[in-house]
């Protein structure tokens, strides 16, 4: 047996189980979704086997001209989801970037300890942690109680079931995901370059913009992608902290499949989420590829 053939066989054997698993449980369902998104909804769930192109138009507000008018409600949900995901990225970055610098300057023991603290929430159930936020943010929660008793407010603040509550919940969940890549790039930042910049006459702001930021950009971009993608499609947080008032794409998809029983429209929405994620991922690959090409 020739060596390349043997190698290929070995590779095939090693990759076989994973490939078969992905093919059966990922590619096939994905194919079903793609097909479904172009079919008409059945009256009581399921699908009618006829070509129906209006599922995608409906997302943008233009639906089946036969019986619907322009209604951008789904477009609003889409834009809101994008906005919430972007805000989550920004907020986690604002939390993690300075913290990464702080921790990178600590002694090894404290570094390990802080990294452990950041990973600690993973040991508790996500649902439990989110319900604690419900208790904290609700009308009769501790924040409102304290503010009321201090006389700072007259009526309880509406904190829960708002976009802000969702962003808070998402930030809370995704901080570790942002922190790790950001920390990795901050940790390996060569401080002699910062000194060189100062030495050459650059003040703190310019040194940050021209040296520190570009050199830590890979971590920032990586963290942003890792946070943006799951935040966009997240449905647990809006379900618990957004209530019925603030809906995101994830909830809308769930609703279309389970309560509205419009599988084709749900599939079309899922395709939309996936394509946004794909575009973000490809952008990331392109940017990091170009950076590598430049030797940075």
């Amino acid at each position: 047996m020739s060596a390349p053939l043997r190698e290929r066989l070995q590779l095939g054997l090693l990759l076989g189980p994973a490939s078969i698993f992905l093919a059966i449980f990922f590619l096939v369902p994905l194919g079903i979704m793609v097909v479904t998104s172009f079919l008409a909804p059945g009256l009581y769930g399921g699908v009618e086997w006829e070509f129906y192109p209006h599922n995608f138009g409906r997302i943008l507000g233009f639906a089946d001209p036969a019986f619907e008018e322009f209604d951008p409600v789904y477009l609003e949900i889409f834009l809101r989801s994008m906005r919430i995901a972007a805000m989550t990225v920004l907020a986690t970055l604002l939390v993690c970037y300075p913290a990464a610098f702080c921790i990178s300057m600590m002694s090894q023991w404290w570094k390990n300890f802080c990294l452990f603290l950041i990973a600690l929430p993973f040991f508790t159930s996500l649902i439990v942690r989110l319900f604690v936020w419900v208790l904290i943010l609700r009308q009769s929660g501790p924040i409102n109680d304290v503010l009321l008793s201090l006389g700072l407010i007259e009526r309880p603040l509406e904190m829960i079931y708002t976009e802000g509550a969702i962003i808070l919940g998402l930030v809370y969940i995704f901080v570790p995901f942002m922190f790790m890549p950001v920390y990795a790039s901050v940790e390996k930042l060569d401080w002699s370059l910062v000194r060189a910049s100062q030495d050459l006459g650059a003040g703190p702001i310019r040194t940050f913009m021209r040296v520190i930021l570009p050199l830590t950009a890979p971590g920032i971009i990586g963290g942003s992608v890792i946070v943006f993608i799951p935040a966009l499609g997240n449905f647990v947080v809006p379900a618990i902290l957004g209530g019925a008032k603030v809906m995101m794409l994830g909830n809308l998809i769930e609703q279309q499949f389970l309560s509205a029983r419009n599988w084709p429209f749900g599939s079309a929405l899922a395709m939309l989420v996936m394509s946004v994620m794909l575009i973000v991922m490809m952008g990331f690959v392109l940017i990091s590829g170009r950076r590598k090409g430049r030797g940075a």
Partner: protein, 363 residues
């Protein structure tokens, strides 16, 4: 000419080691760097030379004392407002910028227009022999080229003072030597003062106008290379610069009576001093002589003779076991051969060239 560009007065800096011990990196240092001077800070690691450089650059805040550059007190001035630039030991080239951007950084910061900047960057790169490499990335260059880029980047804005932190230590021996000469030439061309940190005494002797020898945060001696070599201020300087034979003893009647019974003849260096002193005789100041030589001699047995191309190194031992090293030129090969067969040599020295230093701790 002797007008100073940098002045340190009573500069003190104490670091606390991780174990809690206090390390005096700068111990009440008074020092001046003259205009247009190549000054080398020389000393073993931990002597404070890098701390002194960093405090001039602004990266280390003094505990007390002042630093002024060109007559302006900069003790509290942050690094980016000091008219000095540094060539870092690791070069510290920005990896995300091209060579041209690296070199032009100081100009960009100062708001120099792009066309002007490009011209000056080209000039600076040409000066260090790297003309036309503007578009390259630092990681596409060899170590020696990176070194030159770092140099060009530091001189492009014409600082009043250039600080060099062991910039040649990562280069191989041949490259290092040619860079030493280039640096010296460049300094003369630019007409700016260089403060150069190194632990390599040969490097210091090659390039410097003056050498400051440091130890434990104190300046042991600051003088031109020849004076440092010929008239070291104390045994530490003598031992650190070049190989040397030190003889400690009691000053007598124009002689130095060594503790092991030998006697070195002086030529008036003792003056009317008395007490203990250390005499230094460099290996090349000994000549291999015959027993009948009229000059004063020391008698020693030969341990080892090493041929080093330009001459010989002889390692000998006196009757009392004192080790002496001697450097003989290639022209003395007959005398060396004789010493090699006899395993015995008479080492003549000139009392006029013998340098006396105060004995350590006893003044």
């Amino acid at each position: 000419m002797s007008e100073s560009i940098v002045e340190l007065v009573g500069a003190r800096k104490v670091f606390t080691s991780p174990e809690g011990a206090e390390v005096k990196a700068l111990d009440s240092i008074d020092m001046q760097v003259c205009r247009n001077e190549f000054l080398t800070l020389l000393g073993p690691s931990g002597c404070g030379k890098t701390t002194m450089l960093q405090s001039i650059g602004g990266f280390v805040r003094l505990d007390s004392g002042t630093i002024s550059i060109d007559g302006v007190d900069v003790t509290q001035t942050p690094p980016h407002r000091r008219p000095v630039n540094t060539v870092f030991q690791s070069y510290a080239l920005f990896p995300h910028m091209s060579v041209g951007q690296n070199v032009g950084y100081a100009l960009e910061v100062r708001g120099v227009a792009q066309a002007e900047r490009r011209w000056q960057v080209g000039e600076a790169l040409a000066m260090v022999g790297l003309g036309g490499l503007e578009q390259r990335r630092p990681n596409q260059l060899s170590g020696g080229q990176q070194q030159r880029v770092a140099l060009a980047r530091a001189i492009v804005a014409r600082p009043k003072l250039l600080l060099l932190d062991e910039p040649l230590s990562a280069l191989d021996r041949n490259l290092r030597h040619s860079m030493q000469i280039e640096l010296k030439t460049l300094q003369a061309e630019l007409g700016i003062s260089f403060v150069f940190v190194t632990h390599d005494q040969e490097e210091a002797l090659t390039m410097s106008d003056r050498i400051a020898v440091l130890r434990d945060g104190r300046i042991q001696q600051i003088a031109p290379p020849r004076q440092i070599y010929d008239q070291p201020g104390n045994a530490f300087v003598a031992g650190f610069i070049g190989a040397s034979n030190l003889f400690e003893g009691q000053i007598g009647d124009d002689v130095l009576a060594l503790d092991d019974g030998e006697v070195l003849h002086l030529a008036g260096q003792g003056g009317d001093r008395s007490g203990r002193a250390i005499a230094i005789i460099r290996p090349e100041q000994f000549t291999l002589a015959s027993a009948t030589d009229e000059r004063p001699t020391l008698e020693a047995t030969v341990d080892q003779i090493i041929f080093v191309g330009a001459g010989f190194e002889l390692y000998l031992r006196t009757k009392s076991g004192r080790r002496i090293s001697v450097a003989a030129p290639a022209s003395a090969r007959d005398a060396v051969a004789r010493a090699e067969t006899l395993r015995q040599a008479h080492l003549a020295y000139d009392p006029l060239h013998l340098h006396l230093m105060p004995a350590e701790g006893k003044g």
